[in-house]
Symmetry: C4
């Protein structure tokens, strides 16, 4: 039984103890491995971090990542002076009103509702994007640059929206895209996403950083037909063994596909996030080390580097093999150019997932729909060779139909479902799915189609976006750029 | 004589009685056939629905649609407790001021005036459009992308604006487009439109869902030359016999043309409408069944499906024949692509009517003027083969002149006339016609033309819009897409 | 000596007497000939119109236009009850503050100052434009679509801005464009324009409807070199004899050029103007006759028709001859297409003046700079054959330099000088000229040129505007369109 | 010892004495040579100008520019009545709050902070730009028209941002662009820039008009490797001898490059600046001479002319020689067209510096990035022949990376560093450098590159900007335009 005052003496980089749920842990050696960076831990060095830790980590995280000898034992609770660590001015507004769920007619309505309810911390984490938010905004605006070409006088009484998505025959051609930290928005966290997906029979692709453990999520999908499916998104860790372990874990849980994120060698510069953290630190009067660029010191840790920054095309080959060939598709998430789409199609993966990470990585990266048009222009064969998924700025069933017209197999949405669960829990997730379903069905009938396979590029007019495509792409043989 | 308390016991889907104008009706079997959907009836199950019913149904509707045995007889009025069913917060503002009609210089001025006067219910119905209102807004913006090329030094003392429109030689090249529910805006409802059209000798194309019966409207046009004309718009009912009956009725009334709407296999998602209804239901504390997509249940009624969702090109043939060849033109309303314009020109109809339904059906459908340019680009022969009408976002005489330069025979306007009657009754309809007449006449003189037939594409510069057209259209033989 | 009560009995269309400066006039027969339309006179039928009449008519107008027998003699002033006829709510705000002239750094600053000072009546007249103001706004925006291509490392110590403009060697390449009713803005009216032009040695092209008589303006230009010059703008009257008289008058006054306006067969629909008049009429409780379109009644006067609506290319020939060949250039104002520019170049006139009348005639007419680019594209030879002037939306010296790069000989500005005199009298006119002079001189040096003749299209980048030009122009032989 | 009352009698153009730091100077003959124009001196004629003079002149300025006999000796301080000459309404707001430096996440945040702190005088000087601010705004907007094409699955663990910039191997590919008057923002003035540049090992290109003498700045760079470097920006004076002296001075101080500004034969029209001065003069009740254009008077001084307006390509040759061939590069700053870029490449200079002077010279001049694309299109060989630098509207590391992709060697930023020092002194300059460094490093990794030399045009999509380039450039042999 440790005394809180003793813990308080280990409050620096050199010796960093932290209390979580009445137990004391020595995190000194772990600091540099923390996916969220060391600073967020150091804020609680020598203190009780339960309130901060709990909403963003699945059960079992400490056990999984920390050697047993770093578990120092329980704290004497009588010595604890627990305080609310959220400065009052940064907390959520208590007086705001969340509208009745029935009033929500669109995903934007759900987002507005969530904005009323979320704490600033959660809102900032969900809503923030890179630099000046250009890609974040373009993601939405680009959809509006595509118009429809509706055909009339066709029998559209019966409409079928089923499609095989990420290895599962889903009722609808969209899926819940990987998005972490759902417990920031609702105490049930990712469970809401899993339950919603199961109820409406769509795929939920859960993040490596799910704040509910995958072991808790998997049972929501009871493996009957028509009850949804789990897909596993992989942030490639720095350590190859860790990657292998995560892949094995996903297989053990029966995940129907493996989605490897390839656009995150470093994390993007999300200023609202950084500003929020800086404000907290200033309020607390903590001394913050000056940012130092790696340029001056090759031994310094990579700025914004939480994942592997060395993963390359060769790594895809062994990860593909580790997953195995009869486990369902392997998909590369974060493809942003026609060249890389083509390269991916040569590696033997089953699918590519066009995405600029919701505008959270490189600002001024193209929207996924723009990359899809780029593939049409320069490497159209890719559309025959691999399954194409995409996400980014999708807020309407009509967005999804547009993507499908252009050859996408399925479309992911992330933030809207986080907003759904934040405002209304599982019911909000279901509501979001139903709104999209209604919109897709209505759009199909009004376009004159009754089956997703009937959709083709002649149902859309993309001339506005086509004018903004690059005039040419990297001319050298793309094969020479990797070692296949 | 029935007692209100007895009626109150029939308040569910299984037994639904409703009081209208002191008579009781059993609407149980009718629920699914109601063009506005069953929910709007169920709100009044067991209650007095007179206030809700009266403004949106022509006289005789119940008689026409309900078997005699469903008329259960008069209610004992002493047992009624009539209440205003419009929640006060949703009603119109009494303090708003409608400006003097003389101040109105443009259709926008008239719309502003109507906005002051209309109840929220009426405003929402008239103003709402599909999804995110993109097509609704584009309809107006596209007109502004066309500029004029005025010619000078021509004798323009005498100007003639006459043209044969929808089978009638009208004084002006525009007509009142079908728009339902005029009694929401003014107690005289569609009579204002008929009287205004007759006074200024233009065509009024009345909606299937006119809230004044066509039998009351027809006498406004006394069949002298120069007193306007009635055209009949047909929403194709689910039942073929109903279609035939409506066509016969139109013929009997002397309608000069038949306008068949082809863009409404389901009704578009009009969120303001749906939100208004949801708010009413929440205020009333009624339980609302969860929306269920048809995708899961093939036997479920089609979501948003009030009309026939099976009507196809073959149906046009028999309807054309049912109308007859010496009754005036048959026109297909809702054509939105060059391909369908071409297909229509092969079916033997006399005209096509380019429209995206005021942006109320498929959001991101092209504006009619854009479709007209598309026809110019890909199937210019259509302009020789059939009469071309269009509507959507027209608010200026100059918009009309632009359409005529590009080959349209006539142009329809819907909402502006509803706003005119809402603000000022028949006088407002006449005012709107006069404003447009003045604008057309002035524009013609300033363009250097004196007769509508002189207008041609060289009087307009469409280069901005031309850049936004699709690069190509469906390449397969369009004949293979239907059974002609 | 007439009694006011007797005058009051002649207050209708059938007998319309009006008191002006204590004299009574019978305007019954003149009503239809009034360039401002009959209604504005009828408002004062039977009353004292001095306050309304005086600011907008030059001295001698009544004498010139009214037969002697319509002058009924003086009114007995003791019987007059003079009232201020401007309703107080429509007058100018007394509390507004006009900034010191030295604070004005740009023409926009001067406009802001004038807006503080002008009565609503004057502001509405000066600022109003046709319909929805599209051309009015485009006039300004189009200048901003042209960028410069500045050249460096050239000796630019000495800069010369002289150029022959409208028959006069002016110090600066711009002139005061015709704009009427200057007395609405300042009691000295057009005298301020004449004095300013003389002081800075530029050309003043005065309007047919100058509120100061041309006889008073001409002496401001003392015919020494370098003291400016007067040019005469002609609105062609309905009566050929009146045209001839005006031309003779201009010659007698020594005007150096004749600018014939060809874009005004009818006056444009200026809604702010009309709305202002309607509000006055409503406040006064006068009955206003319903607007009636000429379409129904061929004998009715032409709506908005104050000038000749029959003038054509043939009329230009006799007017050219009436002016004579040694009087300085004849220029056609209001050319708006490349075709008409070419036609004009065939008629023997010396110049063309591209203009959409400040956006006051046909809304959606192209800006003059756009027409100039159209001429470059389709009839470049016109630029060699005639002098090209233009106006519309010019607010910067850089706008003028852009026009000159593209081949314009000179550029007119109207409203900015009206705003200058309204805010500061003659000093404001001079200030506006100096601001433009400074801007032109600075722009020339920074472009690397020292003489206006060095300017050419390579100093500007017009690619944005070029994309908006029509793809082709009227293909038939333009000669066949007139009788030359 | 002079008496203040005696000084007060020399308050005109004809005899102009001024007190500075308790000494009296006769500035009568110097008036016309003052780079800021005579008016700013005349405001203090006969008075104490210390408060105005001190923040904008380096120590030793009077000694360097004024003959000894114009130094009239000390003033009797007891006779002085020093007053604050800044009118209170124009001074800075004392109540504004500058946020903690840690909250600043972007250069825009730093600018906002500076805006809180700066006096209106300083803000106006730093922020103002020419005419209507079109180029000023376009400079920023054009960067946003370029998007990235990020490549994935590359090892990006080690990133190197070093590059030789303006003759110095810098740690980062950007430099501090010449910007004068830093003492307006902070008492240490340009010393903050020098210290920041030295600390982060980047180049500081100091302005001719540095408010700290170059002799004080040079020692900040201790000539060890990796401690930054000083570059010398030259405004060519009217007198050739002065130019030569400045060049010798720069050599003596060890400046590593000479940047000759070629876009300033006159100073641009910066209206906020002029308005501020006019307001001061009006508040003080001083009489201001009417602006007179040189057009009327060839002997008058050139309006807005502080530097040589005769410098041409030949002058570049002797300045190049005066600098010598082993002193580091000579760079021409202010190139704005492909033609001049090509001409410059023929003159033997080492580099060109594309710039429109922060939008402060000719409004509607193209942004530098647009000129760079123009060079790509018309004279791509220039990119091989000379080093290309640019500035204008750069606010993000991503802007810098875009420029480097398109062939720029390095990128300058001016205002952001002035804002940094204004808000936070040297620490603010360092912070701005660190933010950019972080952004560049992150962008490189997310693009898939580890070395600046890997950047090439395929990493960017410039199709939006490419559409706005001129269609052609001056076709005549560019050699004929100068005497080489």
């Amino acid at each position: 039984m440790l005394d809180a005052s003793e813990v308080a003496q280990h409050s620096t980089k050199r010796s960093c103890w932290v209390i979580i749920s009445n137990h004391v842990y020595d995190l000194t050696d772990f600091l540099e491995n923390h996916p969220g960076g060391p600073n967020v831990i150091l804020r609680y060095a020598g203190k009780d971090a339960t309130n901060e830790y709990e909403p963003v980590h699945p059960a079992g995280t400490l056990q999984r990542h920390l050697p047993a000898n770093k578990h120092l034992g329980p704290v004497d609770q009588s010595t604890l002076t627990r305080v609310d660590d959220t400065p009052p001015t940064l907390g959520k507004s208590e007086s705001s009103i969340v509208p009745h769920i029935l009033v929500c007619q669109s995903l934007d309505d759900i987002e507005s509702a969530a904005r009323q309810k979320l704490s600033r911390k959660a809102w900032v984490y969900y809503d923030s994007a890179a630099d000046g938010l250009h890609s974040f905004r373009t993601n939405r605006l680009d959809w509006a640059k595509i118009s429809f070409r509706p055909r009339v006088l066709r029998n559209v009484a019966r409409v079928n929206m089923q499609r095989r998505i990420l290895g599962h025959v889903a009722n609808l051609p969209f899926f819940i895209a990987p998005a972490a930290m759902a417990k920031l928005g609702h105490q049930d966290g990712e469970l809401c996403l899993a339950k919603g997906a199961a109820e409406k029979n769509i795929v939920y692709c859960s993040s490596t950083y799910s704040s509910i453990s995958h072991e808790e999520l998997a049972p929501c999908f009871d493996r009957q037909e028509g009850r949804g499916a789990l897909s596993f998104q992989l942030y490639v860790p720095k350590n190859k063994g860790d990657s292998r372990a995560l892949i094995e874990r996903a297989k053990a849980l029966g995940c129907k596909s493996l989605v490897i994120t390839v656009d995150t060698p470093v994390v993007g510069k999300r200023e609202e996030d950084d500003r929020y953290k800086a404000e907290l630190e200033i309020e607390e009067g903590r001394e913050v080390p000056r940012t130092t660029s790696a340029a001056n010191n090759e031994e310094a840790p990579i700025l914004r580097g939480y994942h592997s920054s060395t993963v390359d095309w060769d790594d895809i080959l062994w990860m593909r093999n580790a997953w195995g060939s009869n486990q369902g598709p392997v998909v590369l998430k974060g493809i942003q150019t026609a060249e890389d789409a083509y390269l991916a199609s040569l590696t033997g993966v089953d699918g590519i997932y066009l995405s600029n990470h919701g505008g959270r990585q490189l600002d001024f990266a193209p929207s996924a729909i723009r990359t899809l048009l780029e593939i049409h222009k320069f490497y159209p064969q890719v559309l025959d060779d691999v399954e194409v998924y995409l996400d980014g700025g999708v807020r309407r069933g009509s967005d999804i139909v547009k993507a499908l017209c252009l050859g996408a197999r399925g479309v992911g949405l992330g933030r809207p479902f986080l907003y759904g669960l934040s405002a209304y829990g599982t019911e909000g997730v279901v509501k979001a799915i139903e709104i999209l379903s209604d919109e897709i069905e209505t759009a199909m009938r009004l376009l004159g189609v009754t089956n997703l396979d009937q959709l083709n590029p002649h149902y859309v007019n993309c001339s506005l976006l086509a004018k903004e495509l690059p005039e040419n792409v990297t001319p050298t043989n793309p094969m020479r750029q990797h070692k296949l």
